[in-house]
């Protein structure tokens, strides 16, 4: 990378994340004097206020401009969603991991202005006040989490439309839609009008925001003594005048347009799983080719612009999270996950020259954000896969690898058209979506193992003695494994019902109180329908509940089936007693459960058959139920860092796991339970019907020796292709030895830049909590022999 990029990158890495009250102050000012407008129009006016008033930042040497806060790494807050208390701010400032500097002035502003205005009025307060006792009890006990309690529904990725249309074109579409409203026959014509007006205000506001950058760049150019930089600033000014008002005409404009849109989305609301450009290589390719053809762009210039664009993502740490949300997603990463490769809309191989350029950039930049993945189709060349694996081999966890062909099938199964499915991909950690056309909201993690624990206590949570679930029978009276399975399914259904009821209320709270007219502009068919993204305006609407701990749950069930029912090695009574004591004094029994159980991840049909039954149970409990936006509920299996939190609230389990230890993550086997080989793990994982999910996450850990040489890469490539032949959805690799990780625990100062794959994202090892560090060390390390 050149000097400019190296400097910007270092600056991004060195800057300590801090809280800025800029946004909180502006939004509070706005709402204090807000007029009597409809909710969508108010939201749009608030957005406009932010775009007109927030500080504009253009840093030395930057080519792509714009920041969410007043400068890089200054993270705004969203008091209308979650109003941090002074105590929250202290915690954010002082906590060891994922901290944010909060200065004295910020605390004063919060104490005097923000808290008095928003306390009791934030979405977080409203949501918690609307949930019933059963929901509260299950939430407190760690049966599930709730994504929307301090972040807005998001989880969507941009399609290709901004590369064809400018905001002025959108405004024309909106005006046409407004003109076509039929107040006589359409009972919600008024609502549509307000929503469309709101979108129009937002489209204008983002143009204003860009113009303010153009103005600043021009003023800076005038004062700039260095002729080269002066020229760049003039160019920046010209780019910002053109986009996003108009469709982009160059590579640079395309990137800058996207970046303004990105800032708009993450400033309007604090959406989950930050928006991202999706199939960036395909979107940029026409601009790249044209630039090269007419001689206005070189490959090196394109590389530099992409690198500057990458740094912009890294400048935006995920806004501060507190409480359970901080536990379930303890990271600065905000999950913008750029897709490369895959298929074109017509089904042809989607790999192009920009794809390789993007892979080079990922390799050189080594940044946590944006996250990156490759979409691997059987049609893609091996060269593409191997180029990606050479990056994977370096051991910092990127890019992850998705099965593009299966993603298309998953989306088609859900009812998307083939063309829409091919334009889709994976986002966040592993979640599938039809990019630019779908709202696929993740609503929270479900602790599958806790539900078994409650089942084993006939509805009581043994950690508190409280009744949380329903009575499904005393397990000591069960005469077969099937009895247990039936009881578990009832209990599962009960908790899923509670979660779904809560979600349905929360969805309506967002639809009615917190629409997102700017985001709605960007996602088809919100304009055509005149309906907000949060209210069902997108062409496709899915609501997800993410299952956690399937590997642990399988091993627990397998242990009970084998030792209690098949072999009578111990009675249910004895098992429960031993679990109640957290195995103290019963190490022999614990060893029996750990070592003499058929365990998932070893291509053992006994265990894997149980996994399939449990997968079906989960699928049946969730899939296909209607949500409030005209779509349905679906499942996916990923944990972020929630398997650590869920483990912490779950007692000792029949798989020999001690109380408080992490659960298995994603669809990976329990840490250390897979003792055979990577092929056995893959065969086990492939017995799950990935097509019925919206994403599964499989982690594998290799020692660096396994991947040495070209041969190591060849064989890893074959391993990946084999998994995908078996319809696997996603796989990712940690290439690091346990010895290195232990050394990093002992002397973190020496390993500050050590990055590892956590769940669906990478993070600095030293930024992870101790429990999570230990969990990663405990994962089976596949060696060569």
């Amino acid at each position: 990378m050149n000097q400019r990029v190296a400097k910007l990158r270092q600056q991004s890495l060195d800057t300590v994340p801090r809280i800025t009250t800029e946004r909180a102050e502006l939004i509070t000012d706005f709402y204090r004097s807000a007029g009597a407008h409809s909710v969508p129009v108010l939201r749009a006016m608030a957005f406009q206020h932010l775009m007109e008033k927030k500080a504009i930042y253009i840093g030395p040497g930057e080519l792509i401009v714009g920041e969410r806060g007043p400068e890089p790494k200054a993270s705004p807050t969203y008091p209308e969603l979650c109003c941090h208390s002074l105590q929250d701010l202290d915690i954010l400032d002082s906590r060891e991991k994922i901290s944010f500097a909060v200065d004295h002035e910020a605390k004063r502003v919060y104490r005097e202005q923000i808290i008095p205005f928003w306390q009791g009025r934030s979405m977080r307060d409203i949501i918690f006040s609307q949930m019933d006792d059963r929901w509260q009890a299950a939430y407190q006990a760690g049966v599930f989490t709730e994504f929307m309690e301090q972040r807005a529904p998001g989880h969507t990725v941009l399609g290709d439309k901004i590369y064809r249309l400018g905001m002025l074109d959108f405004i024309a579409d909106i005006d046409a839609a407004l003109a076509g409203l039929n107040y006589l026959d359409d009972p919600i014509a008024y609502d549509k009008r307000e929503e469309l007006r709101a979108m129009r205000i937002c489209a204008r506001a983002i143009i204003t925001f860009a113009e303010r950058h153009a103005d600043l760049a021009r003023a800076m150019a005038q004062a700039e003594p260095d002729p080269e930089r002066k020229g760049e600033l003039e160019r920046i000014s010209a780019v910002c005048l053109r986009v996003p008002a108009h469709a982009p005409s160059t590579f640079w404009e395309a990137l800058q347009y996207y970046w303004f849109v990105h800032l708009g989305v993450i400033t309007e609301l604090n959406t989950w799983d930050a928006f991202n450009p999706g199939r960036l290589d395909q979107h940029l390719y026409p601009f790249y080719r044209r630039g090269i053809e007419v001689g206005s762009l070189t490959r090196e210039q394109a590389r530099e612009l992409l690198q500057c664009f990458w740094i912009k993502f890294n400048n935006q740490p995920a806004p501060p999270k507190v409480g359970v949300t901080a536990e379930e997603s303890g990271t600065y990463t905000d999950f913008a996950n750029i897709n490369s490769g895959g298929l074109r809309p017509d089904g042809a191989d989607g790999v192009n020259e920009v794809t390789y350029l993007v892979l080079d950039v990922i390799d050189e930049m080594r940044l946590l954000q944006p996250s990156s993945n490759i979409q691997l189709s059987k049609k893609n060349p091996d060269r593409f896969l191997k180029r990606a694996l050479r990056i994977v081999r370096q051991g910092w966890g990127q890019p992850s690898i998705f099965n593009a062909d299966i993603i298309v099938q998953e989306l088609v199964r859900q009812g998307k058209t083939v063309a829409d499915a091919r334009c889709g991909g994976a986002s966040g950690c592993v979640e599938v979506g039809a990019f630019g056309k779908e709202s696929y909201i993740l609503t929270g993690y479900l602790n599958l193992v806790k539900i078994l624990e409650i089942t084993l206590h006939n509805g009581i949570d043994p950690c508190t003695g409280e009744r949380l679930g329903i009575e499904t029978g005393d397990p000591r009276s069960f005469s077969s494994f099937e009895d247990l399975l039936v009881a578990f399914k009832k209990q599962l259904q009960y908790f899923v019902d509670i979660k779904v009821q809560g979600n349905n209320i929360i969805e309506r709270l967002y639809a009615t109180r917190m629409p997102a007219p700017f985001l709605s502009l960007l996602i088809d068919d919100c304009i055509a329908r005149g309906i907000d993204y949060n209210a069902g305006g997108a062409r496709y609407d899915s609501t997800y509940i993410q299952g956690v701990g399937l590997g642990s749950l399988t091993d627990c069930m397998s242990a009970i089936r084998h030792h209690v029912f098949d072999q009578s090695n111990l009675t249910m009574e004895q098992l429960l007693a031993v679990l109640g004591q957290d195995f103290s004094g019963s190490e022999k029994v614990r060893q029996l459960l750990l070592n003499k159980t058929h365990r998932y991840g070893n291509d053992d049909d006994y265990a894997d058959g149980i996994m399939q039954q449990l997968f079906d149970a989960y699928y049946d409990a969730v899939n296909g139920r209607p949500n409030t936006r005209g779509g349905v509920y679906r499942i996916n299996l990923l944990p972020t860092t929630c398997h650590v939190y869920f483990g912490a609230v779950t007692g000792a389990t029949p798989d020999g796991r001690k109380a408080g230890q992490p659960l298995s993550e994603g669809i990976s086997p329990v840490q250390g339970a897979d003792r055979r080989s990577p092929t056995a793990v893959i065969s086990s994982a492939a017995k799950m019907d990935h097509l019925r999910t919206g994403g599964t996450l499989l982690n594998q850990k290799f020692t660096p020796q396994v991947l040495e040489g070209e041969d190591g890469i060849d064989k890893l490539a074959h391993l990946v292709r084999s998994y995908f032949k078996l319809d696997g959805h996603h796989i990712q690799f940690n290439v690091v030895s346990a010895a290195t990780l232990r050394a990093a625990q002992a002397e973190p100062e020496k390993y500050r830049d050590l990055i590892v794959r956590v769940a669906g994202y990478s993070d600095y090892f030293c930024d992870l909590g101790r429990a999570l560090q230990d969990e990663i060390i405990g994962r089976t390390e596949h060696r060569t022999f």
């Binding site: 291509d603 055979r676 056995a680 065969s683 064989k715 074959h718 391993l719 060569t784």
Partner: protein, 233 residues
Amino acid sequence: MSGGTVFDIMKYSVHDGPGIRTTVFLKGCPLSCHWCHNPESQLPGPRVMFYPERCIGCGVCAGVCPNGVLLPLAGAGENHPAAGLDKCTGCGRCAAVCHAGAREMAGREMTAAEVVREIERDVVFYDQSGGGVTFSGGEPLMQPDFLMALLAGCRDREIHTAVDTCGFAPRDQLLEISKLTDLFLYDLKMMNDRRHRQLGQTYTLPDLRPPDNEKIKTIADRLYSTGVRLLTY
């Protein structure tokens, strides 16, 4: 189908021939090279293995051993496997009761059908990578009938096979096996006979003479002329 003693079956073996392979280690070896990385595989019958880091010192194993050779193992440390194991008959009772997995049997009696079923589990990986199965040891030719049955079973299923041999076996047997094998990994331990004798030290089966490298080379040439692929290393 016949049966035999299998020391171990390793999946995702990446250094034993082309592609992703499963390596089946058959027990028994006529040599006892000092560099051998799995000396447990040299003896013909099942043997018990001890993993001290897994042992919780419960002492249950000592209670079931019919030969009374085992002492409770707490704190026995790395050196334990040598202690008292000379009386071990490999009956496997201790391994069956050790919950911690600290005692495991190296070597299992398996039928050829069982082994082939295990090999077949990774067929998708072989197909994708041009891999297959490698029979190694020990010296796989120490169990010629078993090996033939395994090779025949693999050929039936279109699974690529390799035999990793030191060539220390009767020539006719080698030729017979070559008909069922796609690839020989011919392990020429040392091209210098005297040096080989020095390093090889003792031989498990006294009636067999140490390998004669001239002979091995002759056999190799013969095999090559039959069209079998050979890799030497």
